[in-house]
């Protein structure tokens, strides 16, 4: 009798980590086609794994982007800054100063290398784990931190959970709590760029778990039908909260392999290899910009930290699994590559770390001046009623007035809220 197949989760708490299921290719082993190759000739890119850095930290093969040392150091700096920023805010959440946080530990190369491979005018539609974009595009950390604090300088005016940033001037779209909604939106943005005959392209990111949503398929279909100038990225960090990537359909085929079915060029890349991620993204960007079609990229990486500060991964996976992850750590690998090139040293690295950590600490101090959860100044509650519509409608104006009467009564009854 057939039984319902249940995807296999290779290891659970107490087991020895086992990543033998991850299909690997050697560094330099995958061919690099012309950027305008026909999608139907590219299926091999969706099943192989593009890697540039070998185990000896040398760059190999046709995908080597041949970046200069300055660019590599800048990549390292941005990844390190992302990591140190995350670490401090994780500690801050633990201390109760912000209510929630999400780290990108272990997958910093995705946001940093990809953003560096794109143009500043390209529009990014992120999920919640690409804070590295902000490091690359240079948004002052204070402005990000004010969002986490929902304080008087919060770009979201108190309306969004921590980490749900946006940056209009920096061309980074507002993060949604509803998974995958940004994917077809990025395609639409790219369609508009084509309609307007503008050179900028769009790019979007979802986790592999989120690729299960129908919006993922809407995005691929529209991208294919209109050959939109867009890069669609699946960050396969193996876990969606407690569920392993097999539950999103990764057990039977790679996520990149969804691309060929839609007639879209698709590349599976080592997401912890800064050089490979940069190279593949540049290739896809050239393709999109030249009108040669969209690309789906699967970035194979690992969510080394908890899903969020509300999560405890030791309940569903081995404690020390990241130590066994076969693709290593993105920061460490780029660092070792630079050392190999004699363009970097441990001493320089430590000095940079210290300097960046100091910058993060100073930014935090500065951000707190604009208000914290326990100490003012606070945002005016009237902001709650604004931006629902282009103009404040009469019924919301009345509700805002009612809130004032209510707050007066609250004060009389001693029912003032936590921050008053």
């Amino acid at each position: 009798m057939p039984r319902l197949h249940v995807p296999v989760t290779p290891t659970r708490p107490g087991d020895t980590p086992d990543f033998s299921y991850v299909a690997l290719s050697a560094a330099g082993a995958i061919k690099r086609p012309r950027y305008d190759a026909r999608a139907l000739d590219l299926d091999f890119l969706a099943t192989g794994l593009v890697r540039v850095l070998d185990d000896d930290h040398r760059a190999k093969g046709p995908w080597d982007p041949k970046l200069d040392a300055e660019t590599l150091r800048s990549g390292l700096r941005n990844m390190l800054l992302t990591r140190l920023y995350d670490e401090r805010l994780q500690r801050t959440q633990r201390a109760g100063t912000i209510p929630f946080y999400m780290r990108s530990y272990g997958e910093e190369a995705v946001a940093v290398a990809q953003c560096m491979a794109l143009q500043p005018g390209d529009m990014l539609f992120p999920s919640y784990r690409q804070q590295g974009f902000y490091m690359v595009r240079g948004r002052p950390l204070v402005e990000l931190m004010c969002q986490l604090l929902s304080n008087t300088r919060d770009m979201c005016k108190g309306r969004q959970l921590p980490v749900m940033y946006h940056w209009k001037e920096g061309n980074i779209f507002s993060i949604s709590g509803n998974l995958t909604t940004q994917f077809p939106q990025a395609v639409g943005w790219a369609m508009a760029a084509a309609i307007k005959e503008e050179p900028n392209i769009a790019a979007s990111w979802v986790g592999e778990g989120s690729s299960a949503e129908a919006d993922f398929h809407h995005a691929l279909l529209f991208a294919s039908v209109y050959q939109a100038p867009v890069i669609l990225n699946v960050v396969n960090n193996q876990w969606a909260i407690s569920t392993f990537q097999g539950y999103a359909g990764g057990e039977q085929r790679s996520f990149a392999a969804r691309g060929p079915g839609y007639g879209i060029a698709a590349v599976r890349v080592d997401g912890n290899d800064f050089l490979a991620v940069h190279a593949v993204t540049s290739w896809a960007a050239q393709r999109a910009r030249a009108g040669a079609g969209p690309t789906l990229i699967e970035l194979v990486t690992y969510r080394a930290a908890a899903h969020s500060t509300s999560d405890d991964p030791t309940r569903y996976r081995p404690k020390n699994d990241y130590e066994h992850w076969p693709l290593g750590d993105p920061v460490e690998r780029l660092k070792q590559h630079l050392i190999k090139l004699k363009e970097w040293s441990d001493a320089q690295h430590d000095a940079l770390s210290k300097d960046l950590d100091g910058q993060v600490a100073a930014a935090w101090k500065e951000a707190c001046r604009f208000g914290t959860m326990t100490e003012g100044p606070w945002l005016d509650a009237h902001l709650m009623f604004e931006d629902v519509y282009a103009e404040l409608p009469a019924h919301l104006e009345r509700q805002a007035e009612a809130l004032q009467r209510e707050q007066a009564l609250n004060a009389r009854l001693g029912l003032t809220s936590a921050k008053d």
């Binding site: 319902l4 659970r12 309306r159 129908a214 969606a240 909260i241 539950y247 709650m384 209510e406 009854l413």
Partner: protein, 342 residues
């Protein structure tokens, strides 16, 4: 009898029905090995196996569509939507399919699926972990919509939902999962173990869908409410020293109109309270029904208390939430009104 919080009571309802009926299955994101992000399905996969407790892809439309198919083939699926805020990708499957399959097939097909979804705010969840979308579904003919406000009702209603023949949307006010909440976030939480409704039978029982509960009897005014707001309303009436009759409707669709109208006819005054936004909220339906049935008994215009007509803002959670002060102001207004004839 045992002491349970709402999570334990819901877990017990699933356990009891799975033990009794081999065709009950559970499906949803993180519900299997992990036991659910709110731990409602904890231990069920261990006990009933991975053929009956299924972790699912993150695809709410897929979850509900597949649950419908399972129900068409004789199973009784209980689908979990991790947060009610994430039910929207499933709306087509719910409104166009789940609700109408019996109707369009002249009763030849039916799909008794239960969809559980934690809802409501007060947990610092921001605009995508705080919504109360029940009115979207009460507007759809063919699905029942319920929301318990305590562990006893949670278990009894969930068993009734699973064992019934209709599709049910089962909303769980997550702010009161662990204890009743009077609307004052600065007060330490009271656990359900200290509340009489935290007494829950360990075995099988049901609370019928479509029956309201009179939580407290009173003569001055009828407060009609449900979910998290039940305790907030109690607190507000107490603050003002008003002898309010408080009705927890528990089920929005079908609605126990008899209990509601009998009370309003007796007190002559009515306040309706829910956490969801006011405009086209379920309060509008309640208000219209009461006006139709009780007009000649009303001594004051009906007052509605609700969340403001904005998304649920992260930083202004307590300014948004319809706390005791908002209820109290509405109570004062209905008590002051002299009535149309005076």
């Amino acid at each position: 009898m045992a002491r349970m919080n709402m999570i334990q009571a819901l877990n017990s309802a699933l356990d009891v029905t799975m033990a009794r009926h081999r065709n009950v299955v559970v499906i949803g994101e993180d519900v299997g090995y992990f036991g659910g992000v709110f731990r409602v399905t904890e231990g069920l996969q261990k006990k009933y196996g991975d053929q009956r407790v299924l972790d699912s892809p993150i695809a709410e439309g897929g979850i509900v569509g597949a649950a419908i198919g399972m129900a068409l083939n004789g199973l009784k699926p209980v689908a979990e939507i991790q947060f009610a805020d994430y039910i929207y990708p499933a709306i087509d499957q719910i409104a166009s399919e789940l609700a109408r399959i019996r109707y369009r097939s002249a009763g030849d097909f039916s799909c008794p699926v239960t969809i559980r979804a934690p809802c409501g705010g007060g947990i610092r969840g921001g605009q995508t972990h705080s919504q109360s979308p029940e009115a979207l579904f009460t507007h759809v003919s063919g699905v029942q919509v319920v929301m318990p406000a305590n562990p006893y009702d949670a278990k009894g209603l969930l068993i009734a939902a699973i064992e019934g023949d209709n599709p049910v949307l089962f909303f769980e006010p997550k702010r009161i999962y662990n204890g009743p909440f009077d609307g004052n976030p600065n007060k330490p939480a009271i656990p359900w173990s200290e509340h009489p409704k935290g007494e829950v039978p360990e075995g099988h029982y049901t609370v019928p869908i479509g029956s309201a509960a009179t939580v407290k009897t009173g003569d001055d005014v009828t407060i009609i409410t449900y979910g998290t707001m039940v305790f907030v309303c109690e607190a507000a009436a107490q603050l003002l020293g008003i002898d309010a009759e408080i009705i927890d409707i528990r089920s929005m669709s079908p609605l126990d109109t008899a209990t509601i109208t009998a009370s309003v006819k007796r007190t002559g005054r009515c306040v309706i309270a829910h956490e969801a936004t006011r405009f086209s909220g379920f309060g509008a339906e309640l208000s219209a029904t009461i006006q139709e049935e009780c007009f000649w008994h009303l001594e004051a215009p009906i007052q509605r208390v609700a969340g403001w007509d904005t998304p649920y803002p992260h930083a202004f959670e307590w300014e948004y939430f319809p706390g005791p002060a908002r209820v109290a102001l509405a109570l004062e207004t209905v008590m002051e009104s002299k009535g149309a004839t005076e």
